[in-house]
Structures are given as C-alpha cells and as structure tokens.
Symmetry: none
Subunit: 209 residues, 4 copies
DNA sequence: GATGAATGAGACTTCATTCAT
DNA sequence: GATGAATGAAGTCTCATTCAT
C-alpha cells in the first residue's frame, strides 16, 4: 500500500457500455484483491469509512460492484485488510531502520520520521479506525489482534518492559496522529518542535527509560 | 448530560424499542433542546454517530422526528452540541478541583480521576469524534474552536507554556482514552499503574515541567 | 382485499419530480397499510413473491419505497398480511353462506362457488404460498397459525370430526386450486363436472360423512 | 437422483461451504449432466429454487460456474430436468408395483407407500414446483407436458376414465404432499390414519370406482 | 469439455429531512 | 411548538450469466 492518490472523489458516473461491455480479464485473484485493497485505502482515507461505499471502491479499482464481494465478505472485511497492510508496512519500515541504523539517537530520529510520514499520509484512515474499533465488533477484534502483533514486534526489537512498551506504542501513535492532523500546529507548536518531542520519547525508550 | 448506560453494543444496532419515548412534554425550547442533546449523547455513545439516526434520537427524547429539526439544522449540529456540553462539563470539573485542592500532587490525582471517569463514561462518543473531525468540515471547525477554548482554560489555570500545554492536552486525552477503552489492560498494564502514569504526567506539568 | 387488477406489470418508470416533489399526505396509517396490502396482493398474484419487489409494491400503492418499511418490517411480513386478509375474506364468505342457506345441498353449492371464485381470482398467490411455507420460517409459522384458526372455524360451523375436517380442508383447497389453475380442464374434465365433484365433497361432509 | 439429506433449512440459506465440490472429474457429458441434476435436486429441495444459485449448484456437483451453462441454457431448464427425473422415478416405481403385486388391495398399499416415501423425501422440491408453474412460462409448459405423460401412464395401467384419473392424480398428489409436509399430523390426524385414507382412494380407483 | 474471474442490473433496506396539519 | 406520515436518494449485497483462456 502506497500513499493515496490526491484525486478528489468523483461523482457517480454514467453507465458506460449498455450491456456485453468489453470484458477485461485482469489477472490473478491476488492482483485483483490487491487492487481492491489499494482503492479501498485511498477511499477510506479520503472520504472516511462511512463516506465511501463498496461500489465506488470496486469501480475505482477498475471492477464492477459484484467483483468486490468475490474477494471480501463485506465492507468491514476490506477495512481490516487495509489496516493490516498499513500496519505491516509501518513496522517493516521500523524493523529495517533498527537493523540499519547504528546509535539509539539515529534510530529514534529515523523511526520518528518514518512513522510521521506514514501517519501524515493516512490521517483519515486512522480516524475511521478509532470509530470503527468502538462500534464494529469484527474490526475491534482485528485491531486487538494487531496490537498483540505489534507488542511482539517490539519484543523482537529487544524492548522487554511490557508496560513501557504499551505506553510508548500509544504515545507515539497519538503524537504522530496529532502532528499529522495538524492539531499541534494549530495549537502553536511548530512541526520541528513536535518532531523533536517525538524523537525524544522514542530515544528514551530505546535507552531503556 | 448524565452518564450513558453502561451496556456496550455487541453488533449492528437493534431496531429501537417500539414504544414512544419517555414522555410527550411541552416545555420551553431550552428544555426540549436539552432533552434532545441528552438523548443524542446517549445514542452516539451507544451506537456511534453513524449507528443512530435522528428519528431515534427524537423518539428517545420523547419527541416526534420533525421536532428535531426545529432545534438543530442537521445531525452534525447536534453532535457539536453534545461534544461541547461534554467538554464543558469536563473542564468545569477540572476548574473546581484546581480551586479546591491544595498541592500539585492532590490536584493531579483528583484531575486524573475526574478525567478518567469522564472518558470511561463516554468512550464511544470520543471515537466518533475523531472520525467526524477527519471527515465532516462543520464538526472539524467546531472541534478546533473547542481546542482554543481548552488552551485558554489552561492559561487561566496558570499554565503558560503553550507547547507543553498542547502536549499535555493530547497526552492526557490519549492515555485517558486508552485506559477507558481497556487498551492498556489488554496490553498487560493494570489500571492502577496506568492511572499512576496519568497522574505523573499531570503533576509534572503542574510543577512546570 | 378484492380481486387483483388485470393490469400488466409496468417497467421501471422514470424518476418523476427531481426533488421536493408534491408531498401527498394520504391519511391514516391504517389506510396506507391497507393500500400497501392491496397493492402487494395484486403484485404477488401477478408476478409471484420473487417476481416483485417492495419498491414496486410501494409505488403501485402510490408511495415511495421508504413508506413500505414504516408499515412492514420486510417483504415476508406483508406477504403474511396479504395471506391473512385473503383467508379471512374466504371464511367470512363461508360463514355468511352457512348462516343464510337452508339445506346442506344449498350450502355445499354456494360454498363451493364462493371458494372457487376466491381461488380463481388468486392462483398465483396460492402458488407462492406453498413455496414460501416450505422455505421461509416466518411464513411457515403464520401459515400454521392460520390453519388452526380455520379448524376452529369449522368447529364453530358444527363440524366436529377433526380428522374428517382436516381432509376436507385440504381436499377442497386442492381441488379448488386445480380448477382455478385449469389443471383439470387440461386433463379433460369440464369445469362443470369438476365443480360437481367439489360440491359433492362438501355436501358429504356437511351430512356428517 | 437419490434422496436428499434430511436436514431442513431453518432460515435464510447459509453461504455455501467454502471448499470446492466433491471432485474435479472429466467424464462424459452425460455424467456431468447427471451430476449437475443431482446437485440441483438437492439444492432446490433444501433451499428452494430462489434460495440457491447456479454457481452453488455447479460447485456442489464438482464443477465451475461456467460448466453449468454448457449443459443447461438457464436455471429454469435444470429445474425442469430435476422435475422430470423425479416424476419418472415415481412412475417407474408405480409401474413395477403394478406388474408385481397381485390384488388391488396389495397394489394400492404398495403404491401408496412408494408415493409417500417419494414425496416425503422431496417436499421442498414440490413446493417450488407449484410456485414456478404459476410464474415461469417455461416451467409451466414442461409441467403440462409431464401431466400428459402421467395420464398416458395411467391409461397404460388399464385405468380408462379420464375424469376419474385426473381426480385421482391430484388427490393422491395433494394427500401425499400434506402427509409429507406434516400438515395432517399438525391437524390431529395420525400418519397411519392418513396413509389408510390414501390407500383407500387408490384402491377405490383400481377397483374402477 | 471445462474453467473461473468478472459482470452489472437490481433487490432490499435505511435514514436524513420535509411539510401540511 | 410539535407532529408524524411521507419521502427518495443511496448503500449493501446477490446472482444469473458470459467469455477469454
């Protein structure tokens, strides 16, 4: 999943070919699924979970409405897929940085930047996530499972105080969201200062604090 | 606005109860409005913004659907009213504690408990808020305005580093949400420890750090 | 419920007024409900339960799609209402004849004609009924309840052998359906002969056989 | 076509089992066709004509969706094939009994039992049939043709009063359906008594009455 | 002969909103 | 001020059918 396209949502288009339109065999189910997940990510980001619909997602991915339901049982299921892809990408980035960077200072700075970029690209997705976790049981379950994976990832990176890890996870997430949302800027804190605080929080933890 | 029922929704919202709402009163416009706001708060909390509808809110408040639109221009407007009432109550509580308590330590502990209780009572409302801020321009604007009021309230309480205030605001909010959601408990941190960390964050700030 | 109009189903019509169309307040909920039941009866008769849809029923009754769902929870519920109205009318007719006619011979003849007319007017409704009873639990339940009412009605009319009553019920129903369907005519039996046999079955029972 | 599973559907059809059907065979067209008819029979019985779909039928038979349409023009056509196989099996059984049994009494008893067993095994199929005959012209035509064959079969068995034959046909069918459905049991008539009446009707006819 | 990904019209249902009373 | 029947656009999901391989 890459950054969402900046295109604005188009209105409902006219019916294209009346019937027996050109049938475009697109390839493997995996490719189709991936295209749908990408389109859904962009749509959720842009318009929110309740601001798009599955027909629009399918069309954006280049498919007819019915195709969506060959790959996902319902709208919630594709949201989970989008979220899981998003999280996996974030942590793959973090793991690569940890493996590559030398000092805790360098690690913290690069992790902060990577996380920040990732959140900045998907603020709407994250906002939808919180509302859905509160409301949709299936998404709540998937989110909890994802949390456990994240905690395990932290342990793999050598951080072993579960309580501190949990606080770090939530704090980093919330600060990154706030910066991405522009909340801090509107409150009078410059992006540089905000980033500095984020780095400090991470570095503290990497140094065992 | 009082606390919502503690039942948590377990699936798609059930059809509302068939019988009419509590009473068919004719009071002042202010009373009607207040009843609608209270009913909306409970509904948003229970089912989420997109999980209720204005007819249900009106009926729960004891009114007919049309009455809703005599008092609010649309669904977003009543959400803003609910949110503003919620925030005002929280800060009235904080201000009362600050006026009443003696030491920073006592203030921090009592503020943390008050905030925690307030968040614990309304987790669904808060989740809806974030999604709506990302998606609905009217609600986003109202939220920003509310933030400015909160920053002013902090200044009134004698806290004058805007950057630190902003971080405190977001951190307290996020930790309180996480405890209220049970996120920390599921990650292995007991409620007591979580509360301790929340108190510490507040006390630090009250001591100028 | 009277006989269905013989008009043939119209194709989907163009959207009429774009928005803010003329709002036609039609009267009491009971009237609306009755209009919907009448339209549904005609539609089920014409096109079968699976051959119509709730939007078409609403439009045929002079309402918008949403109005349907203010009066019936779903399509099955209105089918039950249609069926119950149908049965009630049939038995009201039978009861009136029993009260009015003198001899078993006269009763039998007039009952047979009334039943025949009622079945002839609604063959499609009856065919849908059997399929739905096999498949839709809600409709099955309603049908069983209706059967019990019919058996009670027979007892009220002074027929007290439950086994014979049950056989009579099913036999009359089946022969009436067959005549109405034209099954017998296609098999070489004239309508007069078929009616004669039906009368005989009823008269036998009225004479205690 | 063998007997369907005795499980009765309790609600809206569940999504089919995810795994593919029994095997991916390549046999003669006749074998493929026969497998499709068998799977369709079971599906129609279980879920009703409108409660299954052709993809599910194909998969249950071990084939891909497209294969279905190599063997049947549409869904109605396979229903006709299922029905014709069902009827043929019933009458083959009856003919064998007539050839084998000695007295009218024995014939009647054995025919009743065979018919009863056949109806008891396929109540859902029969219910769908009636609805489709009322609604789908192609199925109506096929049903009428089948009736003529049945009348001819009766003549072959030596019964020559067309009117009486027609009545017998419908009566036996209806009583057998009612016993199979459990309608009579719910109306207070035991299965033994019901069967007795069925035997009597047949025996009467065999004795020329 | 078989595949199976894809189609797309359309059914069922919801809900924010209106307006005549 | 309140009512509440009615609206109608729109969203979720289904399924008979096709066709390129």
């Amino acid at each position: 999943m890459t950054r969402p396209p900046s295109t604005r949502r188009a209105g409902p288009a006219k019916r294209a070919t009346a019937s027996a339109g050109p049938r475009a065999v697109r390839g493997t189910p995996e490719e189709t699924r991936a295209r749908l997940v990408a389109a859904a990510g962009a749509a959720f980001e842009h318009d929110g979970y309740f601001g798009t619909d599955t027909n629009r997602i399918a069309k954006a991915a280049g498919y007819a409405p019915g195709t969506f339901y060959k790959h996902f049982a319902d709208k919630a299921e594709i949201f989970v897929a989008v979220y899981e892809a998003w999280i996996a990408r974030e942590w793959d980035g973090v793991a690569a940085i940890v493996a590559d960077a030398r000092t805790p200072t360098e690690k913290a700075a690069r992790i902060a930047d990577a996380v920040l970029e990732h959140h900045r690209a998907w603020p709407g997705l994250r906002a939808s996530l919180r509302a859905l976790v509160a409301t949709e049981p299936a998404i709540r379950r998937a989110h909890r499972a994802s949390r456990r994976i994240q905690m395990a990832r932290m342990a793999e990176l050598g951080l072993d105080d579960v309580g501190k890890n949990a606080i770090l996870l939530l704090t980093v997430e919330r600060i990154a969201d706030a910066i991405a949302d522009g909340e801090l800027r509107e409150l009078g804190m410059g992006d540089d200062e905000a980033r500095g605080r984020l780095v400090a929080v991470i570095e503290d933890r990497l140094r065992g604090r």
